[in-house]
């Protein structure tokens, strides 16, 4: 009645894509993320050097045309290490986010649909999990089960569960009183069906945005754990571990610490930009969780 602009709603896919690529954040983030992903994929078929074969004679070579990022203390090519290390970072983050979503989203949706004690129990569970500083618990988990990429994934994944549960629950709770959900209920649809048909698709954008954020956090967390020696183990290269190895040589070979660090920064930056862009495009009013 007054000149309120039409409430924001999802436009059809084609224009969404166009809109997305017109968004500077999204475009930059997309390009960076795509490059990192391409680098990870490329490393399966080709890296400048074979990093499984240590050539100790070539150790600690400063950046040159042959080794653009230099070599490490075993004579491995750092560029190749970073390329292969990206697989580890991506894999850990993807699976950790996957665990978080696969467990957290159904839990959150269930709590929102069911309400009552289920909801209360979920919230209390979240309280307990959030009461443990995440990194501390990750350190404990990896200490119990031994350091390694798989345990790092589990440790990071566990902390993604309540995050996604919370986002899904909040999103679902805001949708249940919507008129189209009421209409679906009036059409005799059950909670499961409504969740699948109406709730999930409509919280998907929130989850996607949260997913990119958690993905970025996952990469940082993996780097942190590896830095403490609790992440991926040699000979599998990992960015955090490279930093750990390099920090003692910062004086003589700063490039050993700078390039893996930059790899982390660039990747996380790319993902965050992607997330920001997605959020702008999908739901301008969505607030960043955590």
């Amino acid at each position: 009645m007054s000149e309120v602009p039409v409430p924001h709603e999802a436009p059809p896919p084609a224009s969404l894509l166009r809109q997305a690529f017109a968004n500077r954040s999204f475009l930059t983030g997309f390009v960076i993320t795509a490059l990192i992903a391409a680098m990870a994929l490329a490393s399966f078929v080709w890296t400048p050097f074979d990093i499984t074969h240590l050539i100790v004679a070539d150790r600690m070579k400063a950046p040159s045309w042959q080794h653009p990022f230099g070599t490490d203390h075993f004579g491995r090519d750092i560029l190749s290490m970073i390329m292969i290390g990206s697989r580890n970072s991506i894999a850990v983050a993807v699976v950790a986010v996957g665990i978080g979503m696969a467990v957290g989203v159904p839990l959150g949706c269930w709590a929102a649909a069911r309400g009552g004690w289920v909801d209360e129990a979920l919230m209390r569970f979240n309280d307990v999990v959030f009461a443990f500083p995440a990194l501390l618990s990750a350190v404990m988990i990896t200490a119990i089960f031994g350091p390694g990429a798989v345990n790092a994934i589990v440790a990071i994944g566990i902390f993604n569960v309540p995050v996604f549960a919370r986002v899904a629950r909040a999103g679902a709770l805001s949708l249940w009183p919507r008129e189209y959900v009421l209409a679906a209920r009036a059409a005799g649809k059950g909670k499961v069906l409504i969740t699948l048909e109406h709730i999930l698709p409509n919280i998907a954008s929130m989850l996607l945005v949260q997913g990119t954020i958690q993905f970025a956090l996952g990469i940082l967390a993996e780097a942190g754990l590896s830095y403490l020696g609790l992440g991926a183990q040699p000979p599998m290269p990992s960015w955090g571990r490279m930093l750990f190895d390099a920090q003692t040589r910062m004086m003589v070979a700063p490039y050993q610490a700078i390039f893996p660090g930059l790899a982390i920064v660039v990747t996380v930056l790319g993902l965050n930009l992607l997330g920001d862009g997605l959020r702008d495009v999908l739901d301008p009013r969505l607030r960043r969780e955590r």
Partner: protein
């Protein structure tokens, strides 16, 4: 010279024009009604005068207030004008006040800023104006927070803020649209009194001709960013010289042609029977140990509805009518009592057993934007209730049924492949109705189905309801606070107040001759264009 003079005002966002050369003027102490439908540019005109347009908008032309060139004035000068010489009241009282500041602070703040008064002096002035707008000190001390006030009370605070310093011009942008009719009447009375008392100019923006007809000395009609017609209220609205003015006036008094109500068939089980229904909600806990006292939203309501009947359930906001509707639709379970549809007690059934009953009743909601999942196409949306059929139709059958339903509501079959956002509000409400009738229900519950629509669209949708009632024999339960809707389309009216049904009867009888206090209040407060014009003409003679 006029108090406010707007000449050739254009406002644009990027290259899209919003206002295209608006001319308008208000004299001191004059009430100007600014009328128009959604997107006509009424609010943008008002915000331009305040120089509070959203960032991206650019204004050009000339706006002179009290000799000051508004568009060219520096920001500091505007700050001096705003709240002092020009006050503004907004549409949505629930969000117009800062939730973390007391009402006293919010009223006194502007006074202190403009007059340099001390805190105590400012609070004294604030106290006076709050008393004046009907918020007496003993019930509404300055230390109250907005959330402790109802919508109507909050709107009074906003008015107090706007009028605290006796502005020369008050701008009221749809000040009553978010309120129910009774509150609307009270707020309009208050505005009228304040304007008279303080000789303020008032720019009253409204979509409702009846409201403006009652209040305004002159009226300006806008459409698509342009002024259609300006003139003295009585003459403009009675002569209806401009075709658009005529269209608006007709639409707001439109009564659809309806076949007479079906003869009541005695002895047959009524379609819907509501027996002693009660609904309690858990109240707020007063202390840690006391059990919270329940809040009774619906209190011992009983009525029956025959096949093909059209009944209105009217009442002020918060009277329990929507809760009752939800229980009838089996979306909520009553605390006590029984609801029978075709003799089957739906409130006792499990969700799975409800299907046959659900097939017989469907729903149309108020908000044409919120009632569709934005991610589904119309075909899927309209077909949703087909889920209730014994036998699920094939894809082809489904398309046929959707096409038929769309045809019933005046839409083309090809519309089923579009997304809801591609439609206008009126078209969406048609889709909503198509969804409601696709299972050929016997009862459609419509919760404020036209109150979010512009008058001309509203008239069309009312026609559609009437038409379907006649052709398909659907019974309606209309939930509304708008008596004109009730009058237009229903045979019977039930008046609800504080959870109870206080009056029931034939529509015309109840509306013309209300018996209960609640009904009387509603009827008296309801704006009515013809009565307003009659009063105005009578007043002039």
């Amino acid at each position: 010279m006029s108090l406010l003079e707007i000449e050739k005002l254009t406002v644009s966002i990027g290259r899209t024009p919003i206002l295209k050369g608006v001319d308008l003027s208000i004299e001191e102490g004059e009430v100007l009604g600014l009328v128009g439908e959604s997107g006509s540019g009424k609010s943008m005109t008002a915000l331009t005068v305040m120089r509070l347009l959203p960032h991206a908008m650019r204004a050009a032309g000339r706006v002179t207030f009290d000799g000051i060139d508004i568009l060219a004035a520096p920001e500091a000068a505007m700050n001096r004008l705003r709240g002092d010489d020009i006050g503004m009241v907004f549409q949505e009282p629930m969000t117009a006040l800062n939730p973390v500041k007391t009402i006293g602070e919010q009223v006194a703040e502007g006074i202190r800023w403009h007059t340099g008064a001390s805190r105590a002096e400012a609070e004294e002035t604030a106290r006076k104006i709050l008393d004046r707008v009907g918020l007496p000190a003993q019930k509404f001390p300055l230390s109250r927070f907005p959330h402790e006030l109802s919508g109507g009370q909050r709107q009074r605070v906003v008015i107090a803020i706007a009028c605290a310093l006796k502005p020369k011009l008050l701008i009221a942008d749809e000040p009553t649209t978010a309120l129910d009719v009774v509150l609307q009447a009270q707020i309009l009375d208050l505005l009228r009194d304040l304007v008279d008392e303080r000789r303020m100019g008032l720019l009253l923006i409204s979509h409702d001709l009846a409201v403006v007809a009652d209040m305004a000395d002159r009226i300006t009609v806008m459409r698509h960013g342009e002024v259609m017609e300006t003139g003295e209220t009585g003459r403009t609205l009675t002569e209806q010289a401009h075709p658009y003015t005529r269209q608006l006036a007709r639409a707001s008094t439109h009564v659809p042609a309806r076949a007479g109500p079906p003869a009541p068939e005695t002895g047959k089980t009524p379609l819907l029977e509501v027996a002693s229904v009660v609904k309690d909600y858990a109240g707020r806990r007063a202390s840690l140990f006391a059990r919270p006292a329940p809040f009774r939203a619906v209190d011992d309501v009983s009525f029956a509805l025959g096949e093909g009947q059209s009944v209105a359930l009217v009442g002020r906001s918060g009277c329990g009518k929507s809760t009752l509707a939800r229980m009838i639709l089996a979306l909520d379970r009553p605390t006590g009592g029984a609801i029978r549809l075709d003799g089957i007690e739906v409130n006792a059934l499990a969700e799975a057993a409800l299907k046959p009953s659900r097939r017989k009743m469907q729903v149309v909601f108020q908000d044409p934007y919120g009632s569709f999942d934005p991610r589904h196409k119309v075909e899927r949306l309209v077909a949703e209730p087909l889920h209730l059929m014994e036998k699920q139709p094939s894809a082809a059958e489904r398309r046929d049924m959707v096409a038929a339903a769309l045809a019933e509501v005046g839409l083309a079959p090809k519309d089923m492949d579009k997304y809801p956002h591609e439609f206008s509000g009126g078209q969406r409400q048609r889709i909503s109705i198509a969804r409601a009738i696709i299972t050929r229900p016997k009862l459609v519950v419509a919760d404020e189905p036209v109150s979010a629509l512009d008058v001309s669209i509203r008239a069309q949708i009312l026609d559609l309801f009437a038409d379907l009632n006649g052709r398909l024999g659907v019974a309606y339960l209309f939930i509304t606070h708008d008596l004109t809707v009730a009058r237009a389309i229903t045979d019977q009216v039930m008046v609800m107040h504080d959870g109870r049904i206080v009056e029931r009867g034939r529509t015309a009888e109840v509306l013309d001759n209300p018996q209960s206090d609640a009904a009387k209040a509603l009827v008296e407060a309801a704006p009515d264009l013809s009565r307003a014009l009659a009063r105005r003409l009578a007043g002039r003679e």
